[in-house]
Structure formats: structure tokens, C-alpha cells
């Protein structure tokens, strides 16, 4: 896997091995770059519209989310991300999780249970359908079985994190994992631009669109960005639906680990409860706990606003990171077949989940 596409966790290990005591200092330049790009996106949102209006130009209102991603993409795909920034840029997933936990303050527990319940039902259908379809597609395209497993988990559950968790559990090749990650990231980048357009064309409500983005876009960062590109409310719902999907990761990975161990091609799982806890995304618990605290008025109204704003700043760094780590040239090098399988699968899953959301919208009348 190339430097630009490298998995954040892998980069962190490399940094630790090089100079453990200086790890904290080495992430600072990259974090400052994330902050600078994110803030530039915010300034562009505020000023470009004003400038266009004062000159009587017709210019669409582009939100800071898209500006931050576009600026990151421009750097990554032209001059590239210099080595000094890479360790810090790789922290964008850390900021994403901080942002999600803090976002819990904007959800009352009742909303979480109600929306989470709907999301959970849709997620269960989505995961089952996506895994079955991707497995079939992998067989049709004669992909290696473990690569098919990685693509199925990546598109059904939660993108890169799920692929990394599954790779270790089923003893898959690094190369297969790189293929699957490249396909999922490339398709996530495409979703950022296509999903909002489709949502507007179909006049989806914020609620329906947010759920759809959370169900269909694979990587958590891209799902949050695709939601936020539509509206603030859609962004909130996309995060909630995606978090519900993330909570399923342990169960899906455990099922695959047991399957491949049964085939004699992976280590058997001795302690299933410990396995589930190890794979369970802890930020989901953090999100729920903050939501409980907000529900029982642990925070005042002004404090909830402050927490929501802090969450936005954390997402700002994340969106800059999404652009910076996406390098289309490097993705092209990973080969066409896994990408084709991923692309066909993603289109079918997007249409399938759109149908689910529209059906749910009619039932619950959002």
C-alpha cells in the first residue's frame, strides 16, 4: 500500500517504532495542516458567497465541508502530502471519533433509542443483503475468497476499520486488504459528490437522506461528510445511522472468523465475549454516555451548544483529512477487478438502501 493510502493505524505503529518518545511531537505538523485546511474551508464558505453576491455572480453556496475536502484533494493529488505531515494527517480518524462522541450531546436518549431502533432494523437488513450480494459478486468475478470477504465486510459494515479488523481475524493477505481498502476509499470519495446530488434530485428530507448516507456510505468519515454536505440535520442522522452500523462490526467479524477457522484457514476464536469487546468500537459507548448525560441535564443549554461547536471543529479536521488521504493515482494502481466488484456492489447497495429508507419514510412519515 502506498504512503498516501496507508492505513492510519499502520502509520501510527511505524511512527512509534521510529521514535516512541517523540510520537506526540511528530503528529503536530499534520494536525496543524488539518486545522489550516479546515479553517480555510470555513473562511471560503463565508467569503466566496459574499464576494460572488457583491459582484452579482451566480455561484452555488458551497459548505465548509466540501471546501475542506476539495482543498485536501487538491493538495494530495497535485503536490502530495509531504512526509513531515503524514503522521498528523493520519490522526483524522481520532478527530472523527472525538467529534462523534461530542455529537452525542445533541441527541436526547429518547431520540437515540427511537432513531437508533429504526436504524438498527434497517442496518440488519442492509448488512445481510450487502454481505450476500458482495459474496455472490466476488464469486462471479473470480476474486480470491478472502478478498471477497474483506470487500463484503467493508461494504456491509464500516469500511476501513472493518477491513482491518477482519484481516487480522481471518489471516487475510496484506495485499487483499490493500485492494479492499483502496476500493472502499475510492467509492467513498465518489459518494461524497454523488449522494448529495441524488438526494436533492429526489427531494429527500434531511431525515431520509441522513439515514441513507449512514446506511450506504461505507467509511465513517465519508458517511459523516456526505451527510453534512446535505445539511446539518442530515449530518447528525448520518452519524447516528453509521454509528449503529459500526456497533455491528464485532458480530460480523466474529461470524467470519468462525467461518474461516472452520475452513482451517484462520485461528479459532476461544473467548467470543473477549473477541466481541476487543472489536467493539468504544466511541459508540462514549456517544451513548454523552447522550444520557445530556438527557438528564448534566449540561446546560449553553454547554450543549459549546459541545456541539467543539464537535464541529473535530469534524472540520476530519473532513480536511478525508481530502488529504485520497489520492486517485494511487487508487488506480490497485487494479480494476476489486474496484469493479466494489463499484457494482456499492451501486446496488445504494439503490437497495435508498428503497429501504423511502419505504421507512412512508411508514413513519418523516
Amino acid at each position: 500500500m502506498s504512503e498516501t493510502l496507508a492505513i492510519p493505524q499502520v502509520k501510527q505503529v511505524q511512527v512509534k517504532q521510529a521514535q516512541p518518545n517523540l510520537q506526540f511531537l511528530r503528529v503536530i505538523p499534520g494536525i496543524l495542516l488539518l486545522a489550516a485546511i479546515g479553517y480555510a474551508g470555513k473562511l471560503l464558505e463565508q467569503n466566496v458567497g459574499k464576494y460572488a453576491k457583491s459582484h452579482h455572480w451566480i455561484f452555488p453556496n458551497i459548505e465548509y465541508v466540501l471546501w475542506a475536502i476539495l482543498l485536501g484533494l487538491a493538495i494530495s493529488n497535485t503536490v502530495g502530502v509531504p512526509a513531515i505531515f503524514r503522521a498528523g494527517v493520519a490522526t483524522y480518524e481520532f478527530w472523527l471519533k472525538v467529534g462523534i462522541v461530542l455529537l452525542g450531546a445533541r441527541f436526547l436518549l429518547g431520540d437515540v433509542l427511537k432513531l437508533g431502533g429504526v436504524s438498527l432494523a434497517l442496518v440488519a437488513i442492509e448488512i445481510t443483503g450487502a454481505i450476500a450480494f458482495m459474496t455472490l459478486l466476488g464469486r462471479l468475478f473470480h476474486l480470491k475468497p478472502k478478498l471477497t470477504t474483506l470487500l463484503a465486510v467493508g461494504s456491509a459494515v464500516c469500511g476501513v476499520s472493518a477491513i482491518i479488523a477482519t484481516q487480522g481475524a481471518i489471516d487475510a493477505d496484506e495485499e487483499d486488504s490493500s485492494f479492499a481498502i483502496a476500493a472502499i476509499l475510492a467509492l467513498g470519495a465518489l459518494a461524497l459528490f454523488t449522494f448529495p446530488l441524488i438526494g436533492h434530485a429526489l427531494h429527500l428530507s434531511d431525515h431520509a437522506y441522513g439515514l441513507w448516507a449512514g446506511l450506504a456510505v461505507d467509511n465513517t468519515a465519508e458517511a459523516s461528510a456526505a451527510g453534512a454536505l446535505y445539511s446539518d440535520a442530515a449530518g447528525k442522522l448520518a452519524v447516528l445511522a453509521k454509528t449503529t452500523r459500526n456497533a455491528m462490526i464485532g458480530f460480523v467479524v466474529l461470524a467470519y472468523a468462525i467461518y474461516w477457522a472452520g475452513q482451517g484457514q484462520a485461528k479459532s476464536v476461544t473467548n467470543k465475549a473477549a473477541f466481541l469487546w476487543q472489536k467493539f468500537p468504544k466511541f459508540v459507548l462514549g456517544f451513548l454516555l454523552i447522550s444520557v448525560l445530556a438527557t438528564y441535564h448534566f449540561f446546560s443549554k449553553d454547554q450543549v451548544t459549546a459541545l456541539a461547536n467543539l464537535s464541529r471543529w473535530a469534524f472540520l479536521l476530519t473532513f480536511a483529512g478525508v481530502g488529504l488521504r485520497t489520492n486517485f493515482r494511487e487508487m488506480r494502481k490497485q487494479g480494476l477487478r476489486p474496484f469493479a466488484v466494489g463499484a457494482i456492489g456499492e451501486v446496488v447497495i445504494a439503490v437497495f438502501t435508498l428503497g429501504l429508507v423511502i419505504g421507512a419514510q412512508k411508514i413513519w412519515g418523516w
Partner: protein, 47 residues
């Protein structure tokens, strides 16, 4: 030394801070920020 023994040795070399995943660090950082806001150390976060 078997692979699993080597893995165990590697694991035991880790400092307590390294044993905590980034996922958990993110939760701890978010809660620290929430507590600072809750107890008035940080009063206002602009957007």
C-alpha cells in the same frame, strides 16, 4: 519461540498508554473536553 509467544512478548513490551487504543483515547479526550465545559473551565466555544 513460537509465533504466539513472540506476540505475547511484543504485547508485554508496550507501555500502559500504548495498550489503550486510539478509539479509547478519542473517548477519553472527548470526555475530558466535556468535563472542562461542564465545570466552567472552558465557557464558550465559538463556531
Amino acid at each position: 519461540m513460537t509465533t504466539s509467544e513472540a506476540t505475547l512478548d511484543k504485547k508485554s513490551d508496550k507501555s500502559p498508554a500504548e495498550k489503550i487504543s486510539w478509539d479509547t483515547w478519542a473517548v477519553l479526550a472527548a470526555f475530558l473536553a466535556a468535563l472542562l465545559i461542564r465545570f466552567g473551565v472552558v465557557k464558550h466555544i465559538p463556531w
